[in-house]
């Protein structure tokens, strides 16, 4: 799993060693960018909807404290954001075969 990630994220730089650094940098950036947007999304969402009443309307009745709901909402937005950026980063890194063709020997 990690190896696949490294190879897909690290294709920008050929050397194995550098790939790991690209991986960590990508993870850092993805975590951080999605964190910021999760903050904004949570603000807009929870200003519009009261999590307590949402929990009562949910298909699976959720009876958590307000704090738990806010936290869960924030973390969920973060997870969504992270998945989106992860997808973008993986697709933006060119496939390995293409990279090798464009690289000097």
């Amino acid at each position: 799993m990690i190896k696949t990630l490294i190879s897909s994220l690290g294709k920008i730089v050929p050397e194995e060693e550098l790939q790991a650094k690209v991986l960590w940098r990508s993870i850092g950036v993805m975590t951080w960018v999605s964190f910021m947007f999760s903050g904004i999304a949570s603000m807009i969402f929870f200003a519009t909807f009261d999590p307590i009443s949402l929990g009562k309307l949910a298909t699976f009745f959720i009876n958590w404290s307000a704090q738990a709901m806010y936290t869960a909402g924030f973390l969920l937005f973060w997870l969504f954001g992270f998945s989106t950026t992860l997808g973008s980063v993986i697709l933006l890194a060119l496939p390995l075969s293409k990279r090798q063709r464009s690289l000097p020997e």
């Binding site: 050397e15 690209v22 200003a47 009261d50 404290s65 704090q67 936290t71 000097p104």
Partner: protein, 469 residues
């Protein structure tokens, strides 16, 4: 250069550089005018952060974001979710303010106000206090793990971690009343764990983030993670105040004894590299403006001291503009500055006015969805409305409702009381004489009045009256 060579060149130089293992930048401590200003501002900001949480205003904490009750207290003001638009407005103002100050004076935010800078400064100070100055820190890093190293490094970690946890605790203290939170923490220390799971989570989360960002990542956050660092240059022009090395004066830089031999030709720069040693991002300002420069002005203060020692005028590195550097004149009032300033002032004044005029009552009128109108008898037509009354005040409200635009009889529960911060529903019926109605849909206006203390507050809302006409 053909494409392949270009790529090869890029990988050899910049990328391997960019992804090279980060070596910790041990900065040399520097004192001077700008550092004094900077440290005072950062100290003040951190003081506000840690101190304001403990200030009370009336019967509640001065600044409290009470999420369970869905109300934000900021001194005498209380904001409800309905006031969300003020928050959006504030964020727009903050962004515009950032543009304005960036165009005017470069990265003031980064050097003087950014939380990352403030906490990094605090952590660096702790590190220096425990491990000593730059030389001592480097020596300690190289030395084997002996008792001294264990003691110093251990102490540093303990102080860093405690400071981080205190930071996390303070953050949560803005969401959960901090005195109650403090009580539960104290109780938890004495055996029975009283801290809520989510409070624990957020204290640890924010504490850990502070510890990692200010203790280890430091200026790498500015280099790799900060979006502002990447786009700030778009707001720069040739009249923006930047930290700059004076090429004309400094070059050719000559070191030590060689200077004596070539007195005339040598520039003012004595190539002591102190400006590099004090730089938190580890750049050489003499290579020109770089995106890594966070405008902390440490190199200015350092270079001024050196210039004093070698009897040259200060300001070889200084706050200046590109125009001032090359033509000698800076234009302060440029179109973008004027536009930003006007927009910002308009938004700011409107913001203050809007907050001052905020009504403690908000009303939404929904028409009964089931029937358009009811025919009571041959003479009378009735419409039903559902009033949603939001009490944004601090005491319970009762209401008086009038209607204009129609000659009708209005009926509602005069004793209906809505508690502060609550949303009340009230059915209101309006009955009019059929003979007096001229059109099928008549525009009407309700006036909702409530008494707050001795003040009458009224809100007007328009609606429509349907009839078979």
């Amino acid at each position: 250069m053909d494409i392949e060579n270009k790529i090869a060149h890029r990988f050899k130089s910049s990328d391997s550089n960019l992804y090279a293992s980060h070596e910790k930048v041990h900065t040399r401590e520097v004192k001077g005018v700008f550092q004094t200003i900077r440290k005072s501002i950062l100290f003040l900001l951190l003081g506000l952060y840690y101190g304001l949480a403990w200030v009370n205003w009336g019967d509640h904490q001065a600044i409290l974001f009470d999420l369970p009750a869905r109300q934000f207290h900021i001194f005498w003001l209380t904001f409800w979710p309905q006031d969300f638009f003020f928050l959006a407005w504030l964020l727009i103002m903050a962004a515009l303010g950032l543009f304005f100050f960036t165009a005017l004076a470069g990265r003031l935010w980064c050097g003087y106000a950014c939380p990352e800078t403030a906490w990094t400064e605090a952590f660096v100070w702790i590190e220096r206090f425990i491990e000593g100055n730059r030389g001592a820190q480097k020596k300690l890093e190289k030395s084997p793990w002996n008792l001294l190293k264990i003691r110093k490094r251990g102490l540093k970690q303990i102080v860093w971690l405690s400071f981080s946890l205190w930071t996390g605790f303070t953050l949560v203290g803005y969401f959960t009343p901090i005195r109650e939170l403090g009580d539960s923490v104290l109780k938890s220390f004495s055996g029975n764990y009283a801290l809520g799971p989510w409070e624990t989570f957020w204290i640890l989360f924010y504490g850990l983030a502070t510890y990692g960002n200010a203790g280890y990542l430091r200026e790498q956050v500015c280099l790799y993670m900060c979006p502002y660092a990447r786009f700030q240059s778009a707001m720069f022009d040739k009249d923006t105040l930047i930290v700059s090395y004076d090429d004309n004066r400094g070059e050719p830089r000559v070191k030590g004894k060689k200077r004596i031999k070539m007195t005339d030709a040598a520039g003012d720069c004595v190539d002591c590299t102190l400006c590099v040693q004090v730089c938190p991002t580890g750049i050489d300002i003499r290579e020109g403006l770089q995106y890594e420069c966070i405008g902390c002005a440490a190199c200015i203060d350092m270079c001024d001291q050196v210039m004093d020692k070698v009897d040259k005028p200060k300001g070889l590195i200084r706050y200046t503009t590109e125009h001032a550097m090359h033509h000698g004149k800076t234009k302060l009032l440029r179109p973008r500055i004027i536009i930003y300033a006007c927009l910002l002032s308009i938004l700011f004044v409107a913001f203050i006015v809007a907050i001052a005029m905020r009504s403690p009552l908000a009303v939404d009128i929904l028409r009964d969805r089931g029937v358009l109108y009811r025919v009571i008898d041959a003479e009378h037509i009735q419409n039903v409305y559902n009033f949603k009354l939001m009490n944004k005040g601090k005491s319970a409200q009762t209401y008086q409702i009038d209607v204009s635009g129609i000659n009708g009889e209005i009926n509602y529960d005069r004793n209906k009381s809505v508690a502060p911060g609550k949303l009340g529903n009230m059915a209101v019926t309006l009955t009019a004489k059929a003979s007096e109605l001229e059109v099928a849909i008549q525009s009407i206006e309700f006036t909702i009045i409530t008494n707050i203390g001795d003040n009458r507050v009224s809100v007007k809302e328009s609606s429509r009256f349907f009839s078979p006409q």
